[in-house]
């Protein structure tokens, strides 16, 4: 009977040592997933998600404090890849905010270039004292231009539907 005790104790000693060793050998770096999430985000630091910047949003998403669909510029595609990365059920999310596009009211624009300087994606073209225009292809709808416009001539609207972007909606029934 005491042999059993001895064997058990020896086993415990050995396994405890092995486990301690294993914990040292296979030690994992702290949460590499935040970097992965941040790499997926647009990086425009636009703040539409409500966080100070993309890296703060990434941290919040990993901790579960931000929904993966809170990034309007990223749209559905980003939401899906984030959900997959963080193992989140897409159906549990509500409606995501719709991506927006900036438009400049040409009758009011004075060509002050403030918006042009503020745009994180260089989506506004124009020079001093010329009316500016938005390249919709590059606009992420971050509203930074709107915030700095002294004439209040910039508005943000959902991307208009065209024959090329229209498609059938999901049927209601069945």
């Amino acid at each position: 009977m005491f042999v059993a005790t001895l064997v058990l104790t020896a086993l415990g000693l050995l396994l405890g040592w092995l486990l301690g060793l294993a914990a040292r050998v296979f030690a994992v770096e702290e949460n590499p997933i935040v970097n992965e999430v941040e790499a997926l985000l647009p990086g425009t630091q636009c703040g539409q998600c409500g966080f100070p910047g993309c890296s703060a949003a990434a941290e919040a998403m990993v901790e579960g404090n931000a929904a993966v669909n809170c990034c309007p510029p990223g749209g559905r595609a980003l939401t899906e890849s984030l959900a997959e990365l963080l193992n989140i059920d897409l159906n549990s999310l509500g409606d995501a905010p719709v991506p927006q596009l900036a438009t400049i009211d040409e009758t009011l624009c004075t060509g002050c270039t403030k918006c042009y300087k503020a745009c994180p994606t260089d989506a506004i073209v124009g020079a001093t004292r010329q009316i500016h225009a938005v390249i919709s292809k590059a606009c992420t709808g971050c509203s930074k231009c709107k915030d700095v416009c002294p004439e209040d001539c910039i508005s943000l609207n959902p991307e208009p539907l065209t024959l090329n972007t229209w498609h059938w909606t999901k049927p209601e029934a069945a």
């Binding site: 559905r76 498609h167 069945a174």
Partner: protein, 499 residues
């Protein structure tokens, strides 16, 4: 006899007897105004070449191809350009599309047509250019520019040119009538295409429910070698290129590939006729045969309509409507589109205008799927529609693709047979649309991300430059003005914005 017959497929009531025995109405009253949408083809919009107030002659170029997959547009009659403005497009969305509006002067005066040599004496490349100039697109509804297809064909060893006369959509008889009435022209066009792509043989494939057309074409083809007129079984969707190729040659087009890959090229009889007109007489594509049919049409007929004619006018030419239609369609009932307005214009790809009664459409409230797998049996592409729809319904597009969404040709066979009346095709349209949207937004994100990085780098560079300038200023104050002038305008603003 036909190699491997088509897989799946359905046999909807053809309803072709409404119009099949009646000859094409050639002389429609000239419409007051013609509407030419700038997008009547697969690629991007063409660019208008006229301005409001310009006078144009019949056949004159009014819009030039806007890119590689775009096509030219010509004035269907003589008159004045009164507007270039958005009209309601002949499209189920009801969204606006820019169109050139021509008010006809009633004279229908042709521009001077070029004198032509024997087309068969010209080089294939020259002929392809002429086809391109004439603005010809796939007339069976595919609206893919014909010249592009011909040039692609020239890069491959094309053994068989198939002329598609298997008009499988119910109601439609425009190709049938065309084959009966203008067989010689079609054979002539086929010979020209064969000349362009240097095909070994021509097979004209006609469904076996069109004996008159078969006979007419056989007669017209008799003098020429290597042109064979062949019957294929009557079955929907036999008119789809992939299914027709399978029925005629026994080969399948590889997924994601083109018929070129297996040495086959398919052209619709309507396209062949248009090519004949363009190469023989120099006439650009300004009119087409349209089937006007359906239970609500007083006197269903095929009409030869100018492109841009409002649908209202051609229905009136067929005696008008006898009841309010449940559905007003452009194209056939299986793959056609509802049009939002009776004032929508006829476009190049318009094979028919159908005004259908409620009984004809036979639409019901959908009930849950009972997995009867009739859709699986009906699918000519060998897909699993019920699973595709199930996954599309919960926005699981990856799985929908797993079950074949990519290969779906939207032929509607599945939705036609579904006893639960599930709008399967709409699920697929939705899923395909969402996937496209997603791809676009991914591209956009990558693009804007690159832009941001570039901008950040630039700002860093500018900052470094400024710092260097400051240092330089301290050392050599005389250079100050020079440095400031070289800096971009608003460095101060930038600093304040960042702080």
């Amino acid at each position: 006899m036909f190699g491997i017959a088509m897989r799946g497929g359905v046999h909807p009531e053809t309803k072709k007897d409404l119009t099949a025995e009646r000859s094409i109405i050639r002389q429609l009253p000239l419409p007051k105004r013609l509407y030419l949408p700038l997008s009547q083809h697969a690629g991007i919009e063409s660019r208008a070449q006229v301005q409001v107030g310009d006078r144009v002659l019949k056949g004159q170029l009014v819009a030039r191809s806007g890119g590689p997959l775009s096509a030219n547009l010509h004035a269907p009659t003589s008159g004045t350009v009164v507007a270039i403005e958005p009209i309601i497009a002949p499209h189920p969305s009801g969204l606006p599309a820019v169109a050139i509006v021509i008010e006809s002067d009633g004279e229908d005066q042709w521009m001077t047509l070029p004198t032509l040599d024997d087309p068969l004496a010209l080089s294939p490349d020259e002929l392809a250019d002429k086809v391109e100039a004439a603005g010809i697109v796939g007339m069976g509804g595919a609206i893919f520019p014909a010249a592009v297809k011909l040039r692609q064909g020239r890069r491959f060893e094309i053994k068989t040119l198939i002329i598609n006369g298997s008009e499988c959509e119910p109601y439609l008889t425009c190709d049938d009538r065309l084959m009966q009435e203008r067989a010689e022209a079609i054979i002539d066009g086929a010979r020209m295409i064969r000349h362009i792509i240097e095909a070994f043989e021509v097979i004209i494939a006609i469904e076996d429910n069109k004996p008159d057309a078969t006979a007419a074409l056989k007669k017209a083809a008799a003098p020429f070698g290597m042109i064979e007129v062949r019957n294929v079984p009557t079955q929907y969707p036999m008119g789809s290129a992939k299914q027709l190729i399978q029925a005629v040659t026994g080969k399948e087009v590889p997924a994601g590939g083109r018929s070129n890959d297996i040495g086959v090229l398919v052209h619709n009889v309507g396209t062949v006729y248009a090519i004949h007109e363009a190469l023989r007489f120099g006439r650009p594509l300004i009119s087409r045969i349209v089937t006007v049919s359906g239970g609500c049409v007083q006197s269903p007929h095929n009409v030869e309509a100018l492109i841009g004619t409002p649908v209202r006018d051609i229905i009136q030419a067929c005696g008008g409507l006898n009841a309010t239609p449940a559905r007003l369609l452009m194209g056939g009932p299986m793959m056609g589109q509802i049009i939002p307005s009776i004032d929508s214009p006829v476009i190049k790809g318009c094979t028919g205008v159908l005004a259908l009664t409620r009984q004809e459409v036979n639409e019901h409230v959908p009930s849950p799927c009972i997995r009867c797998s009739r859709c699986v049996d009906a699918c000519p592409m060998g897909l699993v529609p019920l699973e595709m729809a199930k996954h599309a319904k919960v926005d699981d597009f990856d799985n929908a693709q797993q079950y074949g969404l990519r290969d779906c040709i939207l032929c509607g066979s599945c939705a036609y047979v579904c006893p639960s009346h599930i709008p399967l095709v709409q699920f697929f349209e939705y899923a395909k649309g969402e996937l496209k949207e997603r791809r676009n937004s991914e591209h956009k994100q990558e693009y804007t991300k690159r832009l941001t990085e570039q901008r950040n780098e630039r700002i860093e560079r500018e900052k470094a430059a400024k710092l260097a300038a400051k240092k330089a200023k301290k050392k050599k104050p005389s250079r100050q003005s020079e440095a400031a002038a070289s800096e971009p305008a608003a460095t101060a603003q930038e600093e304040s914005a960042e702080s």
